[in-house]
């Protein structure tokens, strides 16, 4: 199976000029295969969010290489990174971050609209199908404020999958939910991973949820200290 993501010696430093230089990530090597279902764990300040931002092409590495879907993301222009984010990636945030001015269905369609500038009938069909599969068909025309926390997060998950991304990056997707809803949302992520064949990299503090992932990658003080795939 091909790799959707390959990181080689990735370092990230902040500061410079008047402020001191701080290195947050110290040479990360990581690969993720298509269809993987991996958890990224680590204490606060270990560099998880920075690593996720680099993989999500929201920031650029100070050193090293990032290959996303075979593309050299470390050497890409701003326009290329924007295009690849739209084509290859899906984002799920701890707080759903749905757009309040749009209905659930329109939020789901937004990645298509953002990338292509317009949507077609096929896109609407896929959005409705995904909403039906996640039990949200009846809420398609509701605004986010009219939905419960679990429903909002499910809409955000469906939105992340709308563009058929190769990799979904989920930052504490259950962190803001009660334990029952968190279980349901996690189950949904797992189901979509199997059905859609999309790789997932999930940042979580919840050791129980991390244990249920196929692979666990641990980060500490900006270094990968454990990778269950390598252990195996």
């Amino acid at each position: 199976m091909a790799d959707v993501l390959r990181l080689q010696g990735v370092r990230k430093r902040y500061g410079g000029g008047a402020s001191p230089i701080v290195e947050v990530l110290h040479g990360i090597d990581l690969t993720l295969a298509d269809g993987a279902f991996a958890a990224l764990v680590g204490p606060s300040g270990s560099g998880k969010s920075t690593l996720l931002n680099l993989i999500g092409l929201l920031e650029t590495p100070s050193e090293g290489e990032i290959w996303l879907a075979g593309q050299p993301a470390h050497a890409a222009t701003e326009a290329q990174r924007t295009l690849w984010r739209n084509q290859y990636l899906g984002f799920i945030f701890q707080f759903h971050h749905l757009l309040g001015a749009f209905s659930a269905e329109e939020n789901v369609l937004m990645p298509v609209l953002a990338g292509r500038g317009r949507i077609h009938a096929d896109d609407r069909r896929r959005a409705r199908l995904l909403l039906e599969r996640t039990g949200l068909a009846a809420h398609a025309h509701k605004r986010p404020v009219q939905l419960s926390g679990g429903q909002q997060q499910r809409v955000a998950i469906v939105r992340a999958l709308m563009n058929r991304p190769r990799l979904v990056l989920a930052d504490e997707p259950t962190g803001n939910l009660d334990s029952r809803t968190a279980q349901e949302v996690f189950a949904l992520l797992r189901e979509l991973n199997r059905d859609e064949g999309t790789a997932f990299l999930i940042v979580t503090h919840d050791a129980g949820l991390a244990a249920r992932c196929d692979r666990q990658v641990s980060l500490q003080d900006g270094r990968l200290v454990r990778d269950s795939a390598r252990v195996a």
């Binding site: 924007t82 984002f91 971050h97 757009l99 749009f102 990645p111 317009r118």
Partner: protein, 405 residues
């Protein structure tokens, strides 16, 4: 469903209070511009109309006679001389038909009429009043200066032996249509005429002195033979009169005075008024632009996280830029449509309030379609330009920082 339009419209609709605030600001600004423009244009059109209702746009007269030096000295010779202006007697223009044909052939000339004018005295029942005799071909003269709106009594006709006199002269001499009056020229010629009609020029001096006669009667009374003293011209475009006067002078060899030259003080006043109006419009437009920009800046700050999400999911910077520019255009256009309607309503309301003693409007308001179109176009453009900085700020937001808030 298109991204830029959909997102711009939805965000405006979602921020209801802010949107109405900004549209309200544009509406008031555009209303002020439309109202001020309508009032100033109406006032100026009215002043010009009143001024020119009894004046030709261009008057051609024989050139002044100047005393000539008998001997022109060589350049190196200095001469001491006191050349005084010559006494001017009433000069006349000969070959009237040829001059009229030449004048009418000049592009931009709408009509021309020959006028034989000179001083005289009107006598009635022992009362003598100084008058100015104007001999005209009535049909030609009316093409240059409207008279039908000035008729107060009698008929508007000038057959041989008839006269049209000013209303105050009629009052001073106790004349009514059908009455006869004796006219005497400065040279002593006498003519008895029947009053065909009484005219009100709206200018006291003309009402007191002006007597219109058929051209032939005036020429014989004033002793001009077949000649006239001036050619009165109406031009197609009022504000081209000055340029046309120069053309006409060149073509005919006569001296030409435009209405602008004859009313230079009035024009200075009108120009000052226009400049004041322009200043008001400029500052109102500036205030509108600043209003739009400040509300959109606040909107960008408030929408920061949403902009970050859109950028994270792969929205190009240009699309974010276009969203906020379009918002500026929408509020500019929307506000301008409401503003032109409000401005027009205020202007019409003004004409209902500001009235003469007889109940007629003080002056007519000029509400031209071009004013609406230009105001709407300007407000839309100002909206887009004012949105430029907020839009650029939105497009440059770092998605990581924006999402983090």
């Amino acid at each position: 469903m298109r991204f830029v339009w959909t997102v711009a419209w939805r965000l405006l609709r979602d921020g209801r209070f802010q949107t109405w605030l900004i549209v309200g600001g544009v509406t008031i600004g555009v209303a002020v511009v439309v109202y001020i423009t309508a009032i100033i244009d109406g006032l100026q059109a009215n002043i010009i109309e009143r001024t020119l209702s009894s004046q030709a746009h261009v008057v051609l007269r024989p050139a002044e006679r100047l005393n000539q030096r008998a001997w022109d000295a060589r350049a190196e010779v200095r001469t001491l001389a006191d050349v005084r202006k010559r006494t001017q007697r009433e000069a006349t223009i000969g070959d009237v038909d040829a001059v009229l044909a030449a004048v009418r052939a000049v592009p931009g000339v709408q009509a021309a009429a020959a006028v034989a004018s000179g001083p005289g005295v009107a006598q009635q029942g022992g009362v003598r009043k100084a008058i100015v005799v104007l001999g005209v071909d009535l049909a030609d003269f009316q093409q240059v200066i409207r008279l039908d709106d000035k008729r107060r009594e009698g008929t508007l006709s000038l057959a041989a032996g008839e006269a049209l006199i000013g209303s105050e002269l009629a009052s001073d001499l106790g004349l009514a249509p059908g009455a006869r009056v004796r006219l005497q020229s400065a040279s002593g010629e006498v003519l008895s005429v029947r009053v065909a009609g009484v005219l009100d020029y709206g200018v006291q001096d003309l009402n007191r002195r002006r007597v219109l006669l058929p051209l032939r009667d005036a020429q014989s009374l004033l002793g001009y033979g077949r000649e006239v003293t001036e050619i009165d011209v109406r031009v197609q475009r009022l504000f081209e009169a000055q340029r046309l006067a120069a053309d006409l002078s060149r073509v005919t060899g006569l001296s030409a005075d435009s209405w602008q030259a004859a009313n230079s003080q009035l024009l200075t006043a009108l120009r000052s008024q226009s400049e004041s109006g322009l200043m008001i419009r400029f500052f109102v437009t500036l205030a509108v632009a600043l209003g739009i920009a400040s509300v959109l800046v606040v909107s960008v700050v408030q929408r920061q996280r949403e902009i970050g999400i859109l950028r994270a999911m792969g929205t190009p910077r240009q699309r974010i830029l276009a969203v906020f520019l379009l918002q500026g255009g929408i509020v500019g256009l929307g506000g301008s449509l409401l503003g032109t309607a409000l401005g027009a309503a205020l202007a019409v309301g003004f004409t209902r309030v500001a009235r003469n003693a007889d109940g007629s409007p003080l002056f007519p308001i000029v509400l031209q379609p071009e004013l609406f179109v230009s105001s709407a176009a300007l407000a839309t453009l100002v909206g887009v330009l004012a949105a430029w900085l907020p839009a650029r700020r939105a497009a440059r937001l770092d998605p990581v920082e924006a999402i983090r808030g």
